[in-house]
């Protein structure tokens, strides 16, 4: 807790996430050893604390000066437990994909920490970072652009072995790739085919096979099914659930389809303009949302049941998401919120269990960043 107290008030303090046990590795070898140690099921494997990513906006040609920053991610904290699926939902531009890139160490965080088994990956380099990257893999959104059209499927899935030769010695690679193809439900004889010879769903399976190649512990899925046809989405979701059980994986599942997120996730976080608005188990978020944004988001989702449109209240938000380069003061959602009061523009609501629900064991008692958090009867999505 001590390290969180050091932060100034502009950050999200999340007092009820478990403490980070930072492992102070004296050297690289110790760090690699810590990274390779197994984690018990249900223990935190990834801990994100006050993660911030600002993209600078500059002006001028010869003398560039920074005129501002796009605050893509602005103080996000959460835990990912071993073996669970954490869903992250939010509108486009809310920073969910930037979070994914930060977890992969593909972007350098402006500030904040990402602890993987107690090691802060934002500060790692060299062998230790390579070891982390082996254990955290990614599945991308668009299976049409994330596979190199000039490489065969065998080369695409086998490429990770070039970087991490310890996983599969050179002679074994072909067999290993064929095994992976079989695991994701593709014919192992397709090894010499090119991506254009496959349909969208099959390509996404190739992307998943590539993600699995190095036996990772965490897979970050950034909109893995949104580019697929409805009848194929279910196939890919089933495959991902099967693989999770088989290989004991933890997923960070980023998507905008709320019913799919509910199906696959154990816990769900809702993001708005670079901040976490609400986080809790799937039932807490979907059946007892207390943040107005979550309520609006859930009620905006068209429900595949024509009778639902006659039931319950539907909240339709006005306006668009404000620019992350110039977010509103105080609560980010206040410009579109029907409950907004003066307090919301001056005081930043913290992500915590709301005061009124504290100590109660109702499902509404989960972390929500709103001054006036309360339950509301809405048309529920995916219920």
């Amino acid at each position: 807790m001590a390290e969180l107290d050091k932060n100034d008030g502009s950050m999200d303090a999340t007092p009820n996430v478990t403490d980070v046990v930072a492992v102070d590795a004296a050297d690289e070898t110790a760090a690699v050893a810590a990274i390779e140690a197994p984690v018990e099921r249900g223990e935190p494997i990834l801990q994100v604390r006050n993660l911030v990513k600002h993209f600078p906006l500059s002006q001028g040609i010869l003398f560039k000066r920074q005129v501002g920053a796009v605050k893509a991610v602005d103080g996000v904290s959460f835990d990912l437990y071993q073996g669970e699926t954490l869903g992250i939902v939010g509108e486009s531009g809310c920073g969910k994909s930037t979070v994914a890139r930060l977890l992969m160490a593909l972007e350098t965080a402006t500030s904040g920490e990402v602890f993987y088994k107690g090691q802060d990956i934002t500060r790692l380099s060299g062998r230790a970072l390579k070891a982390v990257r082996r254990n955290i893999q990614m599945v991308f959104q668009d299976p049409y652009t994330s596979l190199n059209p000039r490489m065969t499927v065998g080369d695409i899935i086998g490429e990770p072995f070039d970087i991490h030769p310890e996983v599969a010695p050179k002679g074994d690679r072909r067999a290993k790739v064929q095994e992976l193809l079989d695991v994701v439900g593709l014919n192992p004889e397709y090894i010499n085919r090119y991506p254009h010879q496959f349909s969208g769903g099959q390509r996404q399976r190739i992307g998943i096979a590539r993600g699995l190649a190095l036996n990772p512990e965490i897979i970050i899925c950034d909109e893995p099914v949104s580019a697929l046809d409805v009848s194929v989405q279910a196939q890919v979701i089933n495959l991902m659930e099967k693989l999770q059980d088989e290989f004991n994986l933890s997923y960070v599942f980023i998507a905008h389809d709320l019913s799919i997120v509910r199906h696959i996730s154990d816990r769900v976080g809702v993001m708005y303009l670079g901040k976490m608005a609400e986080i809790g188990t799937d039932a807490e978020i979907y059946d007892h949302p207390t943040h107005p944004y979550t309520q609006a988001l859930l009620s905006a989702v068209p429900v595949p049941d024509p009778e639902a449109r006659e039931r319950g209240e539907r909240i339709i938000l006005t306006g668009d998401v404000p620019s992350p380069a110039n977010p509103p003061s105080g609560c980010r959602f206040r410009t579109r919120c029907w409950k907004a009061q003066d307090k919301c523009s001056t005081e930043l609501p913290l992500l915590a269990v709301p005061e009124r629900f504290k100590g109660s064991d109702s499902p509404a008692a989960h972390e929500s960043a709103c001054h006036f958090a309360e339950e509301k009867d809405i048309v529920g999505a995916a219920s």
Partner: protein
């Protein structure tokens, strides 16, 4: 030019059977594309109709022919490679496929307008939105630039774009996704058409904005008593706005039904599969129902029922005989109005 003048030059509907009263009717439409690899049969005999004030949702996956049908109605199909070997598209009883280009142009935009999926690539990036909106009035009604601009502002206000006067000379990239889609809607509405075809109007938008745009579309439809053909793959959007639904698969309509009926009791295994693959609360932690296999390749559509390789109920007859779209009735034989299914085993599917 007043509205009176505008309506005066539509040819009066042909006298004839009651079918002529239909706003738009598509009859046995076929569309094929001649490619190097062979003939892709995108649409294989589609029939549907829309009346004023009615919303028809055309539901289907990519490659099911739903957009191609719409393009054929609008007359914006690329020909060649596209070809319409047979079929009729009747607008108020007149076959648009046999009309001259001149006649067709009078209908397009003025009577039937279209809203496209991707507003950013459908709007011209180097022209201001005011100019693009005004083009409709300049070309079809011969208004001056100044009058057209005034009309454009009026339209932008109607689709609830804030500060329309200041924003009329802005360019498409200066608007957000939802606002751009509103401009597309404004453009379609400009000449107060009788029928709007919306091809995936909200697929590229976020859910909160999608709800705004669908609400606006519904409101305007009621105001002008327009017919609306909504093309989508989203079962949720369809449940929200449609009156009746046509489900397409491999260029054919496999099921038609009023909206409540379809969700309650699908009469085609494909529709049932789609509905079953929506994650439901009580299935949490279990495997989702998934339609096995892949959508068919249009170059070689399976013989018989195109859905047979993926269908759990398929039998020999399905592999040889193409099922016709037949009326669906209750178990006791009483008619279910508006319902049809192209399945040999529709009885088992709906009642079994």
């Amino acid at each position: 030019m007043t509205i009176m003048d505008k309506t005066a030059d539509i040819p009066a509907p042909r006298a004839g059977g009651p079918d002529d009263a239909r706003l738009l009717e598509v009859r046995d439409l076929h569309v094929e594309f001649h490619t190097r690899d062979g003939v892709a049969k995108a649409v294989n005999g589609v029939n549907y109709s829309v009346d004023s004030g009615e919303t028809l949702a055309v539901l289907g996956e990519s490659g099911s022919g739903k957009s191609v049908t719409a393009q054929a109605i609008m007359g914006i199909l690329d020909m060649p490679p596209g070809k319409i070997p047979q079929g009729q598209i009747l607008y108020r009883g007149q076959d648009m496929l046999t009309m001259s280009n001149e006649e067709r142009r009078k209908i397009r935009g003025q009577k039937i307008a279209m809203i496209f999926q991707d507003a950013l690539s459908s709007l011209n990036p180097v022209l201001s939105v005011g100019y693009q909106l005004g083009e409709m009035f300049r070309v079809h009604q011969g208004l001056s630039k100044k009058q057209a601009k005034a009309k454009a502002i009026e339209l932008m206000e109607r689709v609830k774009i804030p500060a329309a006067k200041q924003r009329v000379s802005d360019y498409p990239h200066q608007f957000s996704g939802g606002m751009r889609q509103r401009i597309m809607i404004a453009m379609a509405l400009a000449l107060e058409p009788d029928l709007i075809i919306a091809d995936e109007p909200t697929t590229a938008l976020d859910v909160t904005v999608q709800a705004q745009v669908m609400d606006l579309l519904k409101e305007l439809q009621t105001e002008f008593n327009m017919g609306l053909i909504l093309i989508t793959h989203d079962l949720g959007v369809v449940a929200d706005v449609a009156d009746k639904i046509a489900v397409m698969y491999a260029g054919r309509i496999v099921e038609t039904a009023p909206v409540h009926e379809l969700y309650k009791r699908p009469a085609h295994p494909y529709t049932r599969g789609l509905l079953d693959s929506i994650p439901r609360l009580d299935q949490k932690g279990q495997e989702l129902y998934a339609i096995k296999g892949l959508p068919p390749n249009l170059l070689k559509i399976p013989s018989g029922c195109a859905f047979n390789p993926r269908c759990p109920k398929a039998e020999d007859i399905c592999r040889t005989e193409i099922p016709a779209l037949v009326p669906v009735s209750e178990q006791d034989g009483s008619e279910l109005p508006g319902r049809g299914s192209a399945c040999h085993f529709w009885k088992e599917t709906i009642h079994g």
